[in-house]
Structure formats: C-alpha cells, structure tokens
Amino acid sequence: MTTNVKYKSKPLDCWQWGKELRLEAYQDLISGHEQGKLLVLGCAATPYGMLAGLGDFVFLAGEPYGASIAADPPFSIPCMEAYEAKGYSRDMCGYMRNFLGSMYLDKYYFTGGSFPKFDFAWSVRHCPAGHPKWHQLVSEYQGIPMNYIDDETMLSNEGDPQHRIDYVAGQYLDTIEWMEKVTGRTYDDEKAIEAMRNYFRNEALWGEICLLNGAVPAPLDIKSLFALMPISMLRRHEKIATQFLETLRDEVKDRIANQIAAVPTERYRMNMLTPPPWSFLKIFRYLENFGVVFVGTYVYLINSGEVKFLIDEGKVIPATVPEERPGWPEMKNREDMCRTIARWRAEHPFQSHLDTRKKEYVILFRHWNGDAYLLLLNRGCVPMTTSMYDFQRDLQSHGIAVAMFEGNFADCRDIDETGVLDRLEAFLEGQGIHELKEA
C-alpha cells in the first residue's frame, strides 16, 4: 500500500461516441412524437424492448433522469421544492422527487423546453417504496394510461416459484393487449422479439465490461462507468448500443493488455453497493489524490447489465443470453417471449434473495480485487438501505474493510460533504493510505 506506482492513462477513444449516443436518447424524447415514435415512461429495470412490438418508441427511465438532475443542484433544488409544494414528503425517493419536480415545473433537463408528455407509463414494480406510485402520480398529472408488472420475486426463496413465474409471464402477456388498446396499434411479435434479443445481448455486454474492471490497474473508474451507463440503460434494445458496447469492451481489453489505468496513481481499490450521491461526484476525484480508485458498484452492474454468479465456486462470469442457455427455448412468439422474460427476471442477479446477495457481494469484491467497500446509508431510498447494516456485518465477517457514510443520493440539501470527506479520510488513514504528495 505504500508503494506508489504511476500507470499510463488516457481517455477512452470511444468516449465522444458514447456521449453522442447518450444525448441522442434524451433529445429523442423531445422530437420523438414528431417522428411518430411513442414516448413511454418507466423504470430502468423494465424490459422495454417489448415496446418495439408497437413500432418505434423512446423510453424514458425515470432513475437516470432523476440522477442527472441530482448532479446539477441549481436545477435540482427548484424541482425538489416544486415537489414538496404539492404536499409530498422530502423523505421519499430522491430520483422521483427530481423527476416529478421537473414535470411540475414543466422544464426538461437535457435540452430545455417543456417536459415531455408521455403516451403511457409502463414499468416493473421492483421497488415497493415508490416506483409504481411514482408512475401513478405521472399518470394522474398527465392524464395518461398506466400499467405495471409486479415481479419483485427476489424477496422470497421459499416454496415452489412456478406460480410466481406464471404470474409475472401472465402480466407481460396481458400488458401486450393493454398496450394495443391504449395506443390503437397492432403488436408485431417479431419486432418485439428482435428488440428483446438486443436487450439481453446488451445487458450481458455491459455486465462483461463491468467485470473486466477486476484487472489491476482498473481500466475504467466508476465515474466513467456512470457516464456510459445510460447507453446500456436507455438504449438496450438497439443494435447501435450493441455496436458501441462491443467497441467499448474491445477497447477496455486493449487497455488491460497495455496496463492503461483510469487512475494513474491507483493503489487502493474500493467498491460500492449502491449509487453514489450524484451531487457529490467529486468525492471520487478527491479520493484519487490518495491513490483510491472506485472500480464499480453492485447496483448498476446488475441494473443495466447482467452477470452470472457461480455461488458454490465463488466466481462471477459474464452472462449468456437466455436463448443460449441450456434448456431455454427459442422465442418464436409473444408467449415464448413473455415466459422467457419472466424466467430471465426471476434468475437475474437483480432478483437475488438477501441471503444470496450477501454471497454475491463477497464474490464480486474478490473478483474486482477490492481493498474495501464503501457503503452509503441512503436517506433517499428505503429498499436500498434497509439491510445495509446486515450487509456491513456480513462483509466484515469475511475480513473486508467497510467504510460507511450517510446522506441522500439525489438531494444535495441532505448530505454533509465535508463530514463525509473527513470520515473517509480517517478511514483511509486507518488503512495506511495517506494523501499522495505529488497530487
């Protein structure tokens, strides 16, 4: 830990392309209607490739939109205040408050102008604290139809799961008819299946890229991953995203082969479980002065990517797409597609039960060659935080150093930046990591 190596470093060659792809997605929300595209709202975990059966569409995932606003306090604070002025509480989901405040103010963050009017809201209910209720509020405010899929099956590891998969698959099937009804369009099974194949492929690619960050030095840091994540989060159903992610993967492999580091002074590697405090991303830049690189976070590795945990072997490997898995049938029609999605969701690490998830955290830590975990006690998201002390205890029982801080991931008014930095500096000192003199 006291050896100071200086690695080579350079920006990603595909960085500019990634920025353009990301901006295109957000611009499409403004011009989409003029181009005859459907505008649909949901959460990032929704298998929105299914929407391709209705024709061209633009999907706005509420979380990355809320996170983008959170990273810009002058825009975020009026959004929060507009939301609170409606009588809602400030302890609710931080992403949601940014999103809904932007809607109430009728201000679209990325390109300016009015907030988009959606054709309908369609989402998965993976968060009992709010996501369907969030879309309920949009539905009521904009007067648009809303439907959702309840598929939070990870909460149970008891009994026969078959009826849960039947339930989830049945809801997907039902929503196809519902979508035809609310849009007046005829659903094309082949187009939807094709888009879902892209979706699965891009998830696996993103997961593979995140796993490559186990290399020393880390070819990417968490800031770059967060900046590129919207492509895998918002454009997962598109071939262009596959082309980009394959290019990115190859470039990352090249960086590994040539020892090109994201942080040239890397000497201490930290992992997270949660999103960062978006208004306080400078935390990562600041800690680079100590030679700290953040290599990844569990939640956005599996939220917009997929990996395969081999629990008994203590390994994590890239995921294959469903149709390439032994015993999984080819998707030939909407029934096959819905059942595949339901089964894929049920077996996705996103749905891992609490007891399994603890093992995955340890496996991922070792795969990423971590030195410590940084846990956020997130005041802006109850489900993400409920078990955090349990996770802390479990990680420590495996001999893993854990730093913890408290604050809101999406409300800049609710985080003590100086206090957090003091706490982390003290933690690093305890680990024998001091500020680098040349920094």
Binding site: K86, G87, Y88, S89, D91, M92, C93, R125, C127, P128, A129, G130, P132, K133, H135, Q136, L137, E140, M146, Y148, I149, D150, E152, T153, L155, S156, E158, G159, D160, Q162, H163, R164, D166, Y167, G170, Q171, D174, L354, L377, R379, V382, P383, T385, T386, S387, M388, Y389, D390
Partner: protein, 375 residues
C-alpha cells in the same frame, strides 16, 4: 367486567394471554407482521395468530439493525423481538408489502431465534387477474410448510371452520362500527381500537364471544362526556391507544377509522368457494387495499370518502408513521378530496414515542378551527 374492560385487560397482558393459551391448548403460537397474512390459514392449523406490535417505549436496540429512516413501527416491532418479549413464539410469518416491515422480518429471522418462519410473496398487482392464482400458490406453500412444522394436516373442514369464525369476527366488528354512526355514541374511538387490536391477538372464538357481549351492552351504553367533533382517523399502522385516548380528551370522538389496526384489517369477508385456498386468496387480493400494495388510488380513495360520509365525519386526522412512503403518496390526494367536501384535515407524522405536548397544541388548534366550521 364489561367486554371493553376485558379487551383492555388483554391488551395490557397480551404476552401472558398468549402464553396461557399455549399452555391451555397445547397449540403453537405464530407471530405475524402485516394484515396481509391470512390468519384463517394459521388458525385452521391449530395455531394462535398473534400480531407483532410495538410498545411505544423509547428504545435503541434496533439501531444496529435498521437504518433510522425505517418506519418507527417496524423498528418498534423488531425491538420487541430483540428484547425477547415474544420468546414464546413458535413461528413468524410475513406477507410481502413494504420494505420497512420487510426489514423487521429479515432481521428477526436472522437475529432472534425462531423455530419456524415463512414468507408469503403477496402479488401486489391486485388489479391483475393473475394475482389470485399466484396468491393461491403462495397459500398452498404456506399450508404445506405449516403442516410439515406442526405435523397437523389442514383439512377442508378445518379451513371451513376457520373461515366461518373469522368471517363472524369481521361481521360482529362491523356491527359494532355501525353503532358509531349514531349521534348518541356508545363507544369511543380508543375503545373501538382496543376491540380491533385485541382481535389481532386473541383466539377468534374467545374474541367472538366478547364481541357478542359487547353488542349486547352497547344499546344501553352512553359516553360519560360530550362526543364533540366527529373525527375520522386515516393512515398507516396505528396501535397507540394512549394517543387516541389523549386525543379524545381534547373534545372529539373518533367515529370511524381507516388503518390496519382498524377497519382496513377486518372490513372484507372471505366469500366461500369450493376451492378454499382460492377463496382466501381472493379475499386478500380484493380486500380494502393498503397503499403499499396498490398503485391505483381510486379504490382506496373512494372507499374512504364513502366511509367519511356514512359516519358523518366532521374532521379528519391524516397521519402516517414517519417515513411511510406509500401513505405519503396518498395523503395529498386524500387531503384534496376532503377539501372539496369542506371537511377539515390535520396531517400528523408519528414516531415510536409521541410527544403529546407538541401534538396537543396542533390538535387543539385544529379542533377549534373545525368546530367553527361545523357548529
């Protein structure tokens, strides 16, 4: 001793009641978290279903387990387990509803020794036709798990008997609530709450007997004070009877409620079907919804407004356990609905302990304002 005094006594000695029941019957006692646990099924297996509740005492034993933004009720309930106050439990069951009480269940299962536990994955898309078959599958899993644990086979006759007993219990409590429509109120809100909370802790046969006694007493019963403003209480979990007593001492009476230690718990019956588990599943999917399991406001909203009218409500206390997101979503819409009917509302946020002095000022001001509009 009157029925109401009996309810109060059982509430004060709830743990002793369960221990005595266990000794007397040789049966097993199962704790439950959340009113979406089908008590009929537990009772059919010869178990006493006991709801896990808090004590509203200052405590700090949960701080190592649950983050402070987990709701006070969930923390208070877990504290009881960590302190060993439910050490007589043979089992613990929970139905999937909200993240907060999920934390209670997970930590209880991990850190409080319990011979049996079972999680019911409640399908929360209650508007979907797929929900009832899914919950039926969950109930079958629960039934098989209980049978394995107890060694008792639950027959159709056992289920029929339990369904009938709980339907009777619900019907009798609704009859008591009918008396609260009267101008000449025979029962306070605190007393009614004691009745409902006791139903979540007692053997249903014994509770039914007390309800029959109460229904015989009510026609001749009168409050020993003026009823004052007719209040409705709406919100999340609420078992703080001391608070309701203090509230009513300020010159009002709670005539109707909508929370899960009140009407939301017992309002809907199981409609018998040949498929008993299917019938129970249908009841829990279609019952008066908790906002944690519904993303459609109108069903709950319409039922609440109808109750407010039927019970001639003059003011509404909209309260929530601190950090209870699902209720935080509904409160602004409910406040707006009442505003349109010119019924004043007061919003309160509860913690484990309630500093009544602070609430008193706000409640008194609210009552004064409301009385000006009503009387």
């Amino acid at each position: 001793m009157s029925a109401i005094e009996k309810f109060e006594e059982i509430l004060e000695n709830r743990h002793q009641y369960a221990k005595d029941w266990k000794q007397r019957t040789g049966g097993k006692v199962t704790g439950w978290l959340c009113t979406y646990v089908p008590v009929e099924l537990l009772y059919a297996a010869g178990m006493l279903p006991v709801r896990i509740l808090g004590t509203h005492e200052v405590q700090d034993v949960t701080d190592r387990y649950l983050f402070p933004t987990v709701c006070p009720f969930s923390r208070d309930a877990l504290a009881q387990g960590l302190k060993g106050r439910y050490d007589y439990l043979d089992g613990l069951t929970m139905s999937r509803t909200c993240s907060h009480v999920q934390g209670t269940f997970d930590n209880w299962r991990n850190y409080v020794p319990i011979p049996f536990s079972h999680y019911i994955w409640l399908p929360c898309h209650r508007e979907s036709p797929r929900a009832v078959p899914c919950l039926r599958g969950e109930l079958l899993d629960l039934k098989q798990a209980i049978e394995k644990f107890t060694g008792v086979t639950v027959s159709d006759e056992d289920l029929d008997k339990a369904i009938e007993l709980y339907n009777t219990n619900r019907r009798l409590m609704r009859q008591v609530y009918e008396f609260r429509k009267s101008d000449d109120l025979p029962i306070t809100g605190a007393e009614a709450m004691e009745m409902v909370v006791a139903s979540q802790l007692m053997d249903v046969v014994e509770h039914n007997k007390l309800l029959e006694d109460l229904l015989a007493e009510l026609p001749n019963r009168k409050l020993d004070r003026e009823a004052g403003l007719r209040l409705m209480m709406i919100g999340s979990e609420m078992d703080d009877i001391v608070f309701v007593r203090m509230l009513e001492e300020l010159g009002c009476t709670v005539v109707i409620d909508e929370h899960c230690t009140g009407s939301r718990y017992f309002w809907d019956d199981v409609i018998p079907e040949e498929d008993r588990l299917g019938a129970i599943a249908r009841r829990y999917i279609t019952r008066w919804p908790c906002p944690a399991v519904s993303s459609e406001f109108n069903d709950r909203g319409d039922r609440i407004m109808q109750h407010a009218k039927d019970w001639d409500t003059q003011g509404v206390l909209l309260y929530q356990q601190k950090f209870c997101d699902p209720h935080e979503f509904d409160i602004p819409s409910l406040a707006q609905n009442f505003k349109e009917l010119d019924i004043p509302t007061l919003v309160l946020e509860f913690d484990v302990t309630i500093p009544f002095g602070q609430f008193r000022t706000r409640i008194e001001a609210f009552l004064e304002m409301a009385e000006l509009e009503v009387f």
